[in-house]
Each structure stands twice: as structure tokens, then as C-alpha cells.
Symmetry: C2
Subunit: 200 residues, 2 copies
DNA sequence: ATAATGACAATATTTGATATTTGTCATTCC
DNA sequence: GGAATGACAAATATCAAATATTGTCATTAT
């Protein structure tokens, strides 16, 4: 086993690179193997199918780009503020990718279209983070006594306009920042405990 | 000028029919002309291009399917109730089309994809209706003193999850009704004047 | 023994020659 | 005269043959 042993990690890195250079339509597993200097049969020793490789690449990418969210969710800001920060960060992460490198964003969008399973896991993960912030808000008395998990879904649904990749074409519009702020204000107000006007 | 004179209306009806039978990919203007028993050149006397014909068909369809909304918007139910009814009707109209006849829904979705202009007009129209309900709610004291037009957009954005056709694949899920109700409740609560808990 | 290879069958994609469709307009019809 | 036609050029779409890709596995290399 030398330092250039063929590992899933090395294959993933190569696949990501090939995908970035060739796009989702053109990237083949032969290309990935070639980039690693091995035969494509060897790749199949580590990933059962092209779909499995695709899923793994998508998972890694999602984990990497959503990392800042976990930090905010675990933070100690007051829950209403934390919820604002978290939703703002989710929006920014997506928007920066979409506007900063539209091709790559489209590439991962194409991957996601065929990986419903991975996406469901991902959404479930995000929902858990929102849920923990809401639970904290209920405990602190900032929010009404709502069901945290159900409300997390409601918040996620309500902000779809600003995080669903299929709507990325709207994210460059002029009024976008104001529209987002207005929505968050309305949601936080709807969540606020009586007599505790929304923080901020 | 006899009773079977070639009019834009007759062409529109034929186009709609051809579109329904052949789908958006296969329907040609020769097909439309044939259905009318005229040459395709004659169609071009009434519509400048295939795109113009397509836009007209889409406009007629949107007008027809959204007709119930105007009635609700003009109704005299208390504004919070009216807003609930209106948003519920918007959701239902879309969902019924999407689940009831998926092919036709996909057909009009395809038309819409190439008719950004028509869609913008349409959204503007809906926004106006929401706006008038909100203005009524502010006047009646049920809602806080919000900017009706800006808030109308916020409400439209917040409900994207339930009316954007690109998300139709989610509309058959089990928890869907509950999720929608939860969202509307949260929005109405966020809109309610202090001391006036959300009407039911 | 374990890892890697490459030949292979079954699909899927690309290509490019052929056919259709769009949009125009000079001519015909009533 | 105004409405309709159909022949036409240019732009698009279609389809079948040629090529490439996926996934397997018996064989080879270490």
C-alpha cells in the first residue's frame, strides 16, 4: 500500500475535478479513471455504480458548503437573532454559489435532480438545525409555545423562494435583499411570544 | 365575411386544442392551420409569430384558471378570512391542475418557460389582488399598518412553496395540507394587529 | 490473496444526412 | 381591395448508423 493507493477519497477528489471541468453531461467514469491513471474497472471496486459516485460527490459538496450553518445553529446568540443569522447564512451560501459560479451551480443542480434521496437527507438535516433554534427560542420565552419540528418545516417552506435552486434565476434581482428582510421580519413576528415584540 | 371567418378567437381555440392533443413539443402552426382548414400562411395574418400565438394561448388559459381568485378578492369576508380563502384558492387551482391532468399542466408549464413576459404580468396581477385584501385589512384594523404592496409581495414569496409550478412534484405528499395551514396561520399571525389575535 | 486490468455485452449518446417547420411574399381568389 | 394561398429560403428537428459509456468478470499482475 503506497502513498498513491486508490482510495474512495482520491476517487472523489478526481471525480469532483472532472465534473467541474467537463460538466455533468460530459463527465464519464472513464474520464475519472483516466485522471487517476487507472482503468475504469478499478473505480467500480470502490463505488458500486456511477450513481453511487455521483451521490458521494454531492454529499461531500453539500457538507462543505453548509458547514457555516452548523456553527450558527450551535451559537449562543439570542434565538430570534440566531434564526435570522441562520436563514441569512443559508440564503447567502446558495446565492453566492449561484451568482459566483453559475456553471458549477448548474452542475450540482443537475446532480441533485437525480439524487432525490441525498437531497431529502440534506433537507432533514437543515430542518433539524432550524428546529433546535426554535426549541431554544421557546425555552427562552422569545417564541410562543410552538411545536419546534413542525414549525421548522414551516419556516423552511416559507423561505423556499430564497433557497430553492430552481428559483436561482430570481436571486440577482434588485429588490431581493429587501424582500428577504421583509419576509424574515414577518416570520419572526409570527413566532414571537405575545408582549415580546420581535427582537432587532 | 361569413360565420366561419378566420378570427384570432377561432385560431386561439384551435391552437389550444392542438396543443392539448399533440403536446407543446409536437404542435406546429401547420397543425393549427390544418385543424381550421386553412393554410398556415393565413395564421400569420393574425399572429405575428408562433411565439405570439403561444403567448396568447397562455394568457387565455391563465385568465380562465385564475378567475375564481378575482371573485374572492372582491368579496366581503373579513380581510384575514379573505386572505386565507384567496391563498387557499390559489393553491387549489394550481394543485388541481397539476394532479388532475399532469400532462396538460406540463404542457402549460413548458409554454410558460418561454414566456417570461406573460408570467410577469400574471404575477403582477395576483400581487394586486393580495394587495387589495391587505389594504382592506389595514383599514379594518385587523392587520398592522403595513405597506400593502410590499407586504403583498412578501406573502406571495412566502407561499412560493405551494404555488410555484416547478415545485408541483411536492404537492401530492401526505403532510401537504397541514404544512400549508401551518404556514398561513404563521403569516396571518405575523400580520395581525397587536391585541387582535388572528381571526379564524 | 488482493488489487487491477481490459475485453465484452448491453445501453446510451453523438453525428450528420434527410425532412419538417417557420416565416415571407408575390400571386390568386372573391 | 382585402383575404387567403402556396412556393420558397433559412432555421430546426428527426432518425438511423456509428461511436462511446456503463457495468461485469475472467484473467493477469503483485
Amino acid at each position: 500500500m503506497n502513498e498513491s493507493a486508490l482510495t474512495p477519497e482520491r476517487i472523489l477528489a478526481a471525480a469532483e475535478d472532472v465534473l467541474r471541468r467537463f460538466g455533468p453531461g460530459k463527465a464519464t467514469v472513464v474520464d475519472v479513471a483516466q485522471a487517476l491513471g487507472v482503468s475504469h474497472g478499478s473505480v467500480y471496486r470502490h463505488f458500486a455504480s456511477k450513481a453511487a459516485l455521483r451521490d458521494a460527490v454531492l454529499r461531500v459538496w453539500l457538507e462543505r458548503t453548509m458547514a457555516p450553518l452548523q456553527i450558527i445553529a450551535n451559537g449562543k446568540a439570542a434565538p430570534p437573532t440566531r434564526l435570522r443569522q441562520w436563514l441569512g447564512a443559508l440564503r447567502e451560501a446558495k446565492r453566492d454559489k449561484a451568482l459566483g459560479d453559475p456553471e458549477l451551480f448548474a452542475t450540482y443542480g443537475a446532480l441533485a435532480a437525480d439524487a432525490r434521496e441525498v437531497i431529502n437527507e440534506h433537507v432533514e438535516h437543515l430542518r433539524g438545525q432550524i428546529s433546535s433554534i426554535i426549541a431554544a427560542g421557546v425555552a427562552s420565552g422569545d417564541f410562543r409555545k410552538v411545536d419546534a419540528r413542525a414549525t421548522a418545516l414551516t419556516i423552511f417552506d416559507a423561505t423556499t423562494r430564497f433557497h430553492y435552486p430552481g428559483l436561482a434565476h430570481l436571486w440577482g434581482n434588485p429588490g431581493e435583499d429587501a424582500a428577504f428582510k421583509q419576509l424574515i421580519d414577518l416570520l419572526i413576528r409570527g413566532l414571537a411570544a405575545d408582549g415580546k415584540p420581535a427582537a432587532r
